[in-house]
């Protein structure tokens, strides 16, 4: 077990493409850190650099306080779980799991003992003498995990280990991974493009975008105080709604209606205005759960913005409902968000007016195609600078 420190690590490919740009991240001993981001954001490259499978162009990588930039993977004492599992097809499960120990020339009894122990933990005892081809997807995934844990390495690196499993198994294995990491207490770096996995598994999450680390924090921090519009849009499902807004006469004018800023928001706006004089327009972000059906009893007295819309689509999930509606006032064209939409394949779906999703209580009696009055908790709004994409509430770091 060890800590891992990335100190201004950069990866530039020979063709000049920048895969990872000046990434600094320090992972404490025993911590479970997630690297998350859309495809091509450099998260796998970062992991490969920690593993030693890719060279570091500049910067320093330290494992356990020792600079390992030029160490071969075999000298770093880390284990890796691959997305494809990369099981050796010609070896039995037993030999697959014991391969690293066999290479290290450990005595046979020790290898057998450790392999059997790991097999017991992962419920693979019955399959030890099978070949990977005879196993199901979930079993192969567990063998891949087993291969990592038998070695008791300094750290686990996991490269989207669950993305090849079907949805149900993935959720099951997610808790399994979490339990295993708690039990072993081994430093773990986990790469995923799935924000749900990131939020549920990690002690801390680092959101990457085009090779840069956007924000590092606990899941709660990322959700509650996203530093940039990209993080805000990436974390959370359904994702945050963004609408354009202007500041006029001390009011925040949004397509939902005019909002009188509260103290926190006023302080932020004042601070921001002094920075970029003359700019009066910004982007307002609202999480779906900060809307509610205004007709519901508990909403009657609460302060907040009330506005009426026509609900286009209503999805009833039982526990709550999602109401989709569009707002006049144009679409917020934000490069950061378009990248996300590209990644999700929804880039052509939303066009013209802005679509907003609100999560309502299941008791709501709003119906599709009808006018409804919604309530918005204005204290929870996030304010973003449209040029830099930064949250006005984010601590200014250079």
């Amino acid at each position: 077990m060890a800590d891992i420190v990335l100190d201004h690590v950069t990866k530039r490919y020979p063709d000049g493409r920048l895969a990872v740009d000046d990434a600094s991240l320090s992972i404490a001993d025993g911590e479970f850190v997630i690297l998350v981001g859309p495809s091509g954001c450099g998260k796998s490259t970062t992991l490969n650099m920690i593993a030693g499978l890719e060279d570091i162009t500049s910067g320093e990588l330290r494992i356990d306080g020792k600079v390992v930039n030029n160490l071969a993977p075999k000298d770093r004492d880390i284990a890796m779980v691959f997305q494809s599992y990369a099981l050796y097809p010609h070896m039995s499960v037993r030999r697959n799991m014991g391969f690293a120990l066999a290479l290290a020339k450990r005595p046979k009894e020790e290898i057998d003992r450790k392999v059997e122990e790991a097999a017991r933990v992962l419920d693979l005892t019955d399959h030890l003498d099978r070949k990977p081809a005879q196993l199901s997807g979930g079993q192969r995934q567990r063998v891949a995990m087993g291969r990592a844990i038998v070695r008791s390495p300094k750290a686990f690196l996991m490269d989207e280990p669950l993305s090849n499993l079907d949805a149900k198994l993935r959720v099951q294995m997610r808790t399994e991974v979490s339990r295993l990491q708690n039990r072993l207490g081994t430093t773990t770096v986990y790469v995923t493009h799935d924000q749900t996995e990131a939020m549920t598994l990690g002690d801390r999450v680092a959101v990457l975008r085009s090779g840069r680390i956007q924000q590092v924090g606990t899941p709660t921090e990322l959700y509650g105080r996203p530093a940039t519009i990209f993080v805000a849009g990436f974390i959370g499902s359904p994702s945050m709604n963004f609408v354009p807004a202007t500041v006029e006469e001390g009011e925040l004018r949004t397509p939902f209606g005019a909002i009188i800023p509260d103290d926190r928001q006023r302080r932020l706006l004042d601070g921001w205005d002094s920075g970029a004089a003359g700019r009066r327009s910004l982007i307002v972000g609202a999480r779906p759960e900060h809307f509610e059906d205004a007709a519901l009893e508990p909403m009657k007295e609460r302060s907040g913005l009330r506005f009426s819309v026509t609900v286009d689509v209503l999805e009833r999930l039982g526990s709550d409902s999602y109401a989709y509606f569009t707002l006049a006032g144009g679409r917020t064209r934000i490069a950061d968000l378009e990248e996300l939409a590209h990644d999700a394949g929804t880039v052509d779906l939303t066009s013209g007016a802005e679509q907003v999703v609100a999560r309502l209580d299941a008791a709501s009696r709003i119906r599709e195609g009808e006018k409804a009055e919604l309530w918005l908790d204005t204290h929870q709004l996030h304010l973003f600078d449209p040029d830099t994409g930064r949250n006005l509430d984010a601590p200014t770091t250079s």
Binding site: N48, A51, G52, L53, A72, P73, K74, I78, A79, M80, F82, Q83, S84, Y85, A86, L87, Y88, P89, H90, F99, A100, L103, A104, K131, P132, A133, Q134, L135, G137, R140, R147, R151, L157, N164
Partner: protein, 296 residues
């Protein structure tokens, strides 16, 4: 493969799915007929050769397909002569050494070509192909002179070198295709598991590429075993003369007798190792060993 696969389809699945069974049956018949014709055309000369090898010298030219009088005299004759037995030994030795060297060197080169990007890679592959295309006959005279100058004329090594030259491009091509099929993740996994590049190659990559290596070995072996041009040009004595060359030196019992029976017997004998080789390894060639490596 095509016939085997289509038999159950025509019998069970096709009528159930309501496809045109009659069309499939016609296609099946057509394919079977075509296959039979091809098998016949390729087997008749071979059977003729076998038949000749069992005929007595007097009945060689009687034109009957099945010998009227069977004799093992031809076989006894060739094994009684050191011209043939020594040549058989030479053939085996030279072909085996060339095959092993070609597979070992070819694997390394093919692995590098499949995995690494290095300057001049395209040129190297192109050159290898060029060598394979080169007319061998144009090299024979210069080699003959050169080999005599440097003293490897009429030696095993004198034949192994040209065999390697012409079989390596083939080996590199076949093997790099196999190496490309092996997921790169396996090698990364081996590295992370603590393997040196050599260990990763020997313990993970090579066993998976075994079908490819066997295929290559068979092809190279057949090439070396069958070669006549270099064997006749670069040898002069029993010291290194291989069977195809030695057959040309067969003489009949008397000055005027044709050695056809002996030639046929020798030809049958040297065909046997090839058949054994292919039969032994054909399952291995076909078997896809990489199944189960990655999800799929």
């Amino acid at each position: 493969m095509a016939t085997i696969a289509s038999v159950p389809a025509a019998g069970t699945a096709a009528p159930a799915r309501g496809r045109r069974p009659s069309g499939e049956r016609t296609a099946l018949l057509g394919w079977s007929a075509a296959n039979l014709v091809i098998i016949g055309v390729s087997l008749v000369p071979l059977l003729w050769l076998v038949s000749l090898s069992f005929k007595t010298p007097a009945s060689i030219t009687d034109g009957s397909f099945i010998p009227k009088k069977w004799t093992l005299e031809n076989y006894r004759g060739i094994f009684g002569e050191s011209l043939f037995t020594r040549a058989l030994l030479n053939s085996l030795g030279i072909a085996l050494i060339s095959t092993v060297l070609a597979v070992v060197l070819g694997s390394m080169a093919a692995y590098a070509i499949a995995r690494l990007t290095f300057p001049g890679k395209g040129l190297l592959v192109g050159l290898a192909l060029l060598i394979a295309m080169f007319p061998q006959i144009s090299l024979v005279s210069p080699m003959f002179n050169l080999w005599r100058q440097i003293g490897i004329f009429d030696t095993w090594i004198g034949l192994i070198i040209p065999y390697l030259t012409f079989s390596l491009p083939l080996a590199i091509y076949t093997l790099s295709a196999f190496f490309r099929e092996i997921p790169w993740d396996l090698e990364k996994a081996a590295q992370v598991d603590g393997a040196t590049p050599l260990q990763a190659f020997l313990r993970v990559i090579a066993p998976l590429a075994a079908p490819g290596m066997v295929t290559t070995a068979i092809l190279v072996f057949i090439f070396c075993w069958n070669d006549f041009l270099f064997a006749i040009s670069l040898t002069s004595t029993e010291r290194s003369r291989t069977v195809p060359a030695a057959i040309a030196f067969f003489t009949g019992a008397s000055q005027f007798a044709q050695p056809i029976g002996s030639i046929a017997a020798a030809a049958v004998v040297i065909t046997i190792p090839i058949i054994i080789f292919v039969l032994l390894f054909q399952r291995r060639i076909v078997a896809g060993l990489t199944s189960g490596a990655v999800k799929g």
